[in-house]
Subunit: 103 residues, 4 copies
C-alpha cells in the first residue's frame, strides 16, 4: 500500500519527535498482539472492543501529530515557494485529512 | 487495559469466524510494524497517514464484526432471559458502540 | 432519503424521551442556521469548524440514544420472538451501527 | 459558542464557493427538520439513524471544504509571512483537524 512516492519524497528531519512516535507504535503493535490473544482465548467481546477503541485512538493521535509536522514543514515550505507546488501540497494534505476524518 | 471481567465472562463459541479475525489481526500487526519502519526511515508523511487510515479502517471492520457477534449471541441470549441482566447487557453494548463511534 | 419502511415500521412508544430528542433537534437546527449565517458573514473559518464539530457531536449523541432505544425495544423483542426475524433485526442494527462508525 | 475572534478575524473572500456552501447548509437544515418530524411521528428508528448518518456526512463534507479553503488562504498566507504567526496558525488548524477527526 506504500507508493513509489516513498523514495522520491523521503525527507529527513521533518518528524518532530521520532523517538516518541516509535515508542507509541511499539505500544500499538503490542496492543494489536494482545487483541489477537484475546480473540484466540475468546475473551469477553466488550473487553476486546474496548481494546480496539484504545488502539484506534492511539493511531489517531499518531496521525494527528504527523499531520501537524507535515503542515509545519512540507506545506509551509511549499506555501513559501508558492505556485502550483503549493497548491498541489495543500490538495494532498486536504485529501489525507478527509481520509482521517472518514476512517 | 483488560479487566477482571475477562475471566468471569470468557464464553467459548460466540465468535463467528475466529480464524478470519486472527488472520485480519495478523495483517494489522504487520501494518503497524510497517508504519514503525516508515517513521524510522522518515518516509513521506502522507504515505504514512494513508497507512494509518488503512489500519484504522481494518480495526473498525474487526470491531463491527465482533459487535455483530456480540448482539447475535450475548445480547440476544440476555434479551430472551429478560430482567435486569438483559437491561445491563444492552447498556454495556450501547456504551461500547458509543466508544467506537467517538474513537 | 426516507424509505417506504417508514409507514410499515412506525412503532408508537419505543422512543424513551421524545421531548428530550425534539429539544436537542431544535437546538441542532438552530446551530445549522447559525453556521449558514457565519458562512454568509464570512466569519473566521476555525470558528465555523468548531460549530460544525459541535453539531456533529450533538447528532451523534441523538443517534446513540435512539440506537439504545432500538436495541432495548425492537431488537430485544425480536430476540425474544426468535427465528429469522431476530436475525434480520440484528443484521439491520449492525448495518446502522457501521454507518454511524464510518460517518 | 462563537468567540470574540469572530470580529477580529472576519476575512472577506477566503471562502471558495460561498453559494455552494449556503445551498448545502440549507439542505442540512431541511434534513435536521425532517429528523425532528420523524422523531415526532415515531418513524422507524433505523430510518432515523440513516438520516442522521446522512446529515453527519454532509456536515463533514462542508467542514473539509472550509478547512481546505483555510489551508489554502489563511495558513498559506501566514506561512509566507513566517514567524510566530505562522506557527500559531498551524497549531490552530491542527487543533481544528483533531476536533473533526475525533467528533
Amino acid at each position: 500500500m506504500t507508493t513509489d512516492t516513498d523514495t522520491t519524497h523521503a525527507q529527513r528531519g521533518y518528524i518532530s519527535d521520532k523517538k516518541g512516535y516509535l515508542a507509541r507504535l511499539k505500544r500499538i503493535e503490542g496492543q494489536a498482539r494482545g487483541i489477537s490473544r484475546m480473540i484466540d482465548d475468546e475473551k469477553y467481546c466488550i473487553d476486546i472492543l474496548t481494546q480496539i477503541s484504545a488502539v484506534t485512538s492511539a493511531l489517531e493521535t499518531v496521525a494527528l501529530g504527523l499531520l501537524d509536522d507535515h503542515l509545519r514543514h512540507c506545506v509551509a515550505d511549499a506555501a513559501r515557494a508558492g505556485g502550483s507546488e503549493a497548491d498541489a501540497k495543500i490538495t494532498e494534505a486536504s485529501q489525507a485529512i478527509a481520509r482521517l476524518v472518514r476512517s
